[in-house]
Amino acid sequence: MKKNRYELCGLNCRMKKMLFVMKFTIAAFFMGLMSLSAASTYSQNTKISLNIENATLIDVFKQIEAQSEFVFIYKNETINLDKKVDVKVEGATVDKILENVLQNSGVKFEINNKQIIVTPNREIPSNKSEKIIKEEIQQQKKELSGTVKDNKGLSIPGLSVVVKGTTTGTVTDTNGKFALSVPTDAKTLVFSFVGMKAQEFAIAGKSTFNVTMEEETVGLEEVVAIGYGTVKKSDITGSVKTLSNDQFNAGVVMAPEQLMQGKVAGVNITMQSGEPGANSDVLIRGANSISFSNSPLYVIDGVPVGFNTNGFSNAASDRMTTLSNNPLNMLNPSDIESINVLKDASATAIYGSRGANGVILVTTKKGKAGQNSVSYEGSYGVSSLRKKLDVLSASDFRSYMKDNAVTGWVDGGASTDWQDQIFRTAITQSHSLSLNGGNDKTNYRASVNYTNQDGIIIASNLEKYTGRININHKAMDDRLTIGLNLTNAFLKNHNSANPEGAGGGASGGTIRDALRNDPTYPVKDASGAYVWHGAFNQNPVEETLVRADNTETYRYMGNGTADYKFFDFLNANINIGFTKENIDRYVYEPIAGRIGSISHGHGSHESRASNSKLLETNLVFNKTFGKHSINALGGYSFQEFVYTNSFMESSGYISDATSYNSINSGNKASWNLYSGKASNKLISFYTRATYDFNRKYLLTATLRRDGSSRFGANQKWGNFPSAALGWRVSEEDFLKNSNFISNFKLRIGYGVTGNQEIGNYGSLPILSAGGQYIINGNFVGAVYPTQYSNPNLKWESTAQSNIGLDFGIFKNRLTGTIDLYKKKTNDLLLSFTVPQPAEASNTTLNVGSVENKGIELELNGVILNEGPLAWEAYANIAHNENNVVSISNSEWKQAAIYTGWVQVPGFTGQSTQIIMPGEPLGTFYGFRFASVDANGKQQFYDRDNKLTYTPNAGKLGADDRAVIGHNQPKFTYGFGSKFTLKKRLSLDLFFRGVQGTQVLNSTFLDLNDKSGIYSAIASGTDNARINIAKGAVTNGIAHTETLLYSSKWIQDASFLRLENVTVNYNFNVSSLKWLSNFNVYVTGQNLFVITKYKGYDPEVSGGNDSYKYPRPTTIQLGIKANF
């Protein structure tokens, strides 16, 4: 029997097809055509050219097969194929060619899709009917087909279906369908897909296969990114948490970190603001650094990023928010495949001098083998203020004035709820479209997203455009793998006029002005002009609406990777990356507005830009010798960051016409400008070896050697070692067959990591220009030292040990992780006053030490997984204890560092927190409030615990201050459940909370000051008064009292929040050819908070709540469709 051939389309053909599909789909986008059904007219569209002489029919068939996807099927004893023919055709269809060639040959043909069946002609005598012969031929090739789905009922595209032991096979299409011709003697069909259990089926007697694939043992064999590589979850020896996209928090996201907020034990995420695009504080296992960043290192698809995060406070206009910029906003959350959090030093040591604060690895979605698919995700969200603060209403205000016989106040005649005036129901809409496809050689994923998110304060808004392409390609017999990731993002913020406390200066911001505004006055007077009062300088509605304050951010990130397999055990790879960002903030206070009228228009334009270049080269060795398995990595990395900034401002405009677009239109004498540039370099060598004996004993050792341009000449290079051991006890004989324990692994690790976010040029002797003198009759600018060289300047160093236990019981239906850690950070950089003689007055030195220790527990349980209702539950809880060990050394001594200012006017320079040995960071330090006496005077305890009054100057002094609270949670926790009914309807509930932390409620302090109700707010000409909190009426403190920062304003900020509720319905679309998956969901976020805290929200960045932009409650409706 002649060997029949069927093989998968080769590379060239696939590439052509892919390009075609891409072009086609792009065209389809723009034309709005979402249907991709291209009817097969293959035989008519395929043109073949032949030029052969004196060839047999077999030669002709071979040529045609070589040029096309046609396969000839025939039984050679029934026909004579040795006939010699001459063929010369140019671009003819196959039927035309065959008609010519087979003329008078005694055979005829029939084209059946891509099969060409050749049978004897009728003229040839035969005892079999044509039908029988045809059947006989057909039986040699068996046609198989079917559909493959996962256990959720979703079709799986790109899954490979192969006849066992052969190369005969295919992959499933977008709808999970496949069709395959197999030889009649084929026995077994194998279905396999990454991350799924391979399945085998006997072919005998079956032609249709409807297969449901099962995921590989959940969790255990999951592959986890660990930096410069991946490892099977079962082989991990460090403390690493993986969060895949189906575990992310759903809903409207202020910041991408919110996706994992509360989901990872020991990772405490506090949003800095409820404003769209806000940044958040991410603390992994407590704060290490006193003077510098405690943020983890972010690595996006292998590229460590160092984008600007600081707010632009330099454009010094009244009421400008200083909200910092969130670099992760460049990612569309639906492009993220998973987030890995490396928590302990044995895991982060591979990032050396950047590993001390933990590392967050973000992996984006890659294309999957299979045919192209298109997905659309769309959502529409409604956000609103969760709770209003209780200030006096207009009628309360009138009663108060009457009851207390306040003189000089004139009723404004209106009833205004100022909170209603500045807060609104905000709409968010988001649309994402992604293309996904590929084959076993090449795959791609491309996506675009548009999000328009309104903030709940009027006029605040974020518009976001992101685009992303990931392409991977294999070549040279799969030895070479190349990859390309590109991301572009453009974000446009319209900023609120709420400076988040610190920037408020003597005035305030939208929220402060609204809460304190006289509720009996209208927003606008009869003439339509905004009503404002001296105390506020501006009307809270006006200040937000009138000013133009836009931040435009452009971010680009791209990296290319190549991996070459020299031997089965040795790979080399490179990663070349580039990032770029431009941020521009444009602000204009128009002449027509109240504030702008004072300076006759004030415009500013501030720019920040940065770029970074990355080059990494690695060698990876991976081999198993019997029971020994070794995986070793050695690499080199170079990364350089460059930052530039510029600023210009002016005032005194002739007209508002040019706004901030022409700063030089302002009065020349008011021009103010500056610019700057800085850079830093990081060069590293790193190596990691993991050794596994008999799948039982695991050893990981890491060493990174980092050199940073930031370090002083004597400390240019630092070594960051770590080692960890793992023991998979459950693989031991005595547990191997246990029905109870299915997984039990002990981990122990130790490592040293660093924090090199210590600013640039800290070690160099630097001169700056400033001042001038007359030299030889000319003005000469003076240049003087602003910083002395510190050749010993180095990173802050953290040593951490970790003991962990991973377990799974009842066939891994209950899994969990417990980690105990202790870390000590030394060489903290602190600022000291330089003794005279010195021109630079301060110096920064590696001096202090801070300790963190804690315990983390995570549990996951599959409570029900059989029957129509499935129920999974999960919970995590973490406790961290922070302690400042030292802030001095033998040469440089200090008793305490005072920090954290009361961020409301009237408290200039008053510190609220103390940093001192024996207390944690975030310790509130101030007077101890006792009570209010009958005359409304505040009483405090003095240093001897005796009652004393405020006005007794000299009696209550700096020495009477004491520790009055801590902004350090005792526990942070999260728990949730997912219920799924008949694999279609699901309900997710997620709660999270913080226990045992305190916050300084500066807002509350400010709103309890009654003095503004009694005195005119602008020297005699303004009859309005300042509003107060309802509680202030009965707080007993006389209006003549000056309020002091004290324990009275420190509040319990423990809370339990219903973070997320999602109801999802997955429609059955198996009857629709063009649609493979369709989900509709509703998500509610931040629906309730149980707390004693009296402010808008107990979660306050930095522990000082001063009119922070509150986080809204959000309801989102969305769809996800896969075509």
Binding site: A678, F711, L767, S768, Q772, F779, V780, P835, P837
Partner: protein, 514 residues
């Protein structure tokens, strides 16, 4: 396709080769690396400018002036400022006294500037290295003279950056004296003589050989107090070097003292007497304006257009009063002395005869309750500059002048031997005579006469406290407010507490407990 893969492999190889890069040089973009600066004349001038800028910071405003003059019968600031002037006047300074701190730190910052300049300029090695070194060493010596005078025992530091592991320790006053002496001698050996430079072209920045010698005169004059050993002979010898050089002269016409203090006192015609001054221009820029004029010699706005004996006083910019002279100050002058006229007391009229103001001396003994910055007498020693932009003027601020060299030599001669009386009188008369119509000789009846004449001649020139201490009269002087004697430790000011806090090697001057 094959080609593409080959190039990828090539990139691979290249990347591995580039991997060898381990250079970690740090590139500064918007700041200057001190290690590569000080190369061109402009760069060196910018560093010199900083030395003067720092020095100017201490002297341009009230701080040093108030310690030297407000602690005597020369002046007062009739406004509160938290009681600092009261402490000055009543000799009750504590170690937290703000201006005392500012002078100490400011002077040391100027020293730091000289130290870093000297260290860096040596590396740059310009052709005029010796001259630059001499100038800056002399300036540093002057700074140390201010410190030895006010604080006595201070650390001697000559390196740019203080080693935190080895913080400077207090040196004895005598050691500081020795250091200043040797530094000035070294400077003298490096500096060119007035004869050899076009002083007019570079005036007043360049400190010449004679200027440094004059500094040495000041040092020797106070040697008994500062080092414990009198050096009167050295005063005479060194003063003779200055006098014999002919570098300076005294404008000797009637009222010519006003030329030395005139707005155009930087011109060749008017700077003959000036040895060391701070350059001032009324152009914009706080650093280079005559801040002293605005702050210390702020005049009553009511004096605008005032005329005396038919001649305009040139005041058209008066405003808030400023520091004031005491009635005691007024009384040190004869009514025929031109210099008395520089203190404004009594009724002033405009050209039309309209009364502008009646300036009255302080009578309020409750020093804490000065209500009005306009209280007390005005002083126009620095001749007012009409029609200046803003409130700043061009008058260069004088720190040392030739008259002082003559007076110092006279004092030394007299102290060495009262028999030198005539020679001493002749020296002082060279200056004294210009203050009287038709001239007048100075007569010495006792050493005190020299102190009194110094008080008159160098009024408000920041040397009077030093003079009083040298004559042993600082703790016993009397004013409206200083009515009892002080303990002797008050001859020195306290070391600021914040400095002792940051440098435990410092020792507080004896007697100061707070």
């Amino acid at each position: 396709m094959k080609k593409i893969y080959r190039s990828i492999i090539a990139v691979f190889g290249l990347a591995f080769i580039i991997s060898a890069c381990t250079k970690l040089d740090e590139k500064l973009y918007d700041q200057i690396d001190a290690r590569t600066f000080y190369k061109t004349t402009d760069e060196i001038n910018a560093a010199v400018a900083d030395v003067y800028f720092r020095f100017n910071n201490v002297h341009n405003w009230l701080n040093h002036w108030q310690l030297q003059e407000c602690s005597t019968d020369h002046g007062m600031c009739p406004w509160g400022d938290g009681g600092v002037y009261k402490q000055d006047q009543m000799h009750t300074l504590t170690s937290t006294h703000g201006p005392n701190h500012d002078v100490y730190v400011g002077t040391f910052q100027a020293i730091a500037a000289t130290n870093s300049f000297l260290e860096n300029v040596k590396l740059a090695n310009p052709s005029n290295l010796a001259l630059l070194e001499g100038e800056v060493q002399a300036l540093r010596a002057w700074c140390y003279m201010d410190l030895i005078d006010l604080y006595g025992n201070v650390p001697i530091v000559t390196v740019a950056h203080v080693d935190p592991a080895n913080l400077p320790a207090t040196a004895t006053r005598a050691d500081v004296f020795k250091f200043i002496e040797s530094e000035l001698k070294d400077a003298i050996s490096k500096l060119p003589s007035n004869k050899d430079v076009d002083r007019q072209a570079v005036y007043p920045r360049i400190i010449t050989k004679e200027a440094a010698q004059a500094f040495l005169v000041k040092l020797y004059l106070n040697a008994e107090i500062w080092s414990g050993t009198a050096r009167w002979q050295d005063v005479v010898a060194t003063a003779d070097l200055v006098i014999n050089s002919g570098a300076y002269s005294i404008p000797s016409g009637y009222g010519d003292i006003w030329k030395t203090f005139a707005p155009d006192n930087n011109t060749p015609a008017n700077n003959k007497e000036i040895i060391f001054a701070l350059s001032k221009y009324a152009a914009p820029g706080w650093d280079t304006q005559m801040g002293f004029w605005a702050n210390c010699l702020g005049l009553h706005g009511e004096l605008n257009g005032a005329v005396r004996d038919g001649v305009s006083l040139g005041i058209d910019q008066g405003f808030w009063g400023g520091p004031s002279a005491l009635d005691e100050t007024y009384q040190i002058y004869d009514n025929t002395d031109f210099r008395r006229g520089l203190i404004l007391k009594g009724k002033f009229y405009d050209a039309s005869g309209k009364l502008l103001i009646d300036i009255k001396p302080f009578t309020n003994t409750d020093i804490a309750t000065f209500p009005d910055s306009r209280a007390g007498l005005s002083c126009i020693k620095y001749k007012p500059q009409p029609k200046i932009p803003g409130l700043f003027s061009d008058n260069d601020m004088i720190l040392f002048r030739y008259a002082d060299v003559l007076y110092s030599k006279a004092e030394a001669l007299y102290r060495l031997n009262a028999g030198n009386k005539a020679a001493a009188e002749a020296l002082i008369t060279q200056v004294y005579t210009r203050n009287f119509v038709g001239g007048k000789s100075f007569t010495i009846n006792s050493l005190d006469d020299i102190l009194k004449e110094r008080s008159r001649e160098f009024l408000w020139e920041t040397s009077y406290r030093t003079d009083l201490v040298r004559f042993g009269k600082f703790i016993t002087m009397r004013t409206l407010w200083h009515t009892t004697d002080d303990p002797a430790f008050r001859n020195l000011n306290p070391i600021p507490q914040s400095e002792i806090d940051s440098n435990p090697n410092l020792v507080q001057n004896p007697g100061y407990t707070n």
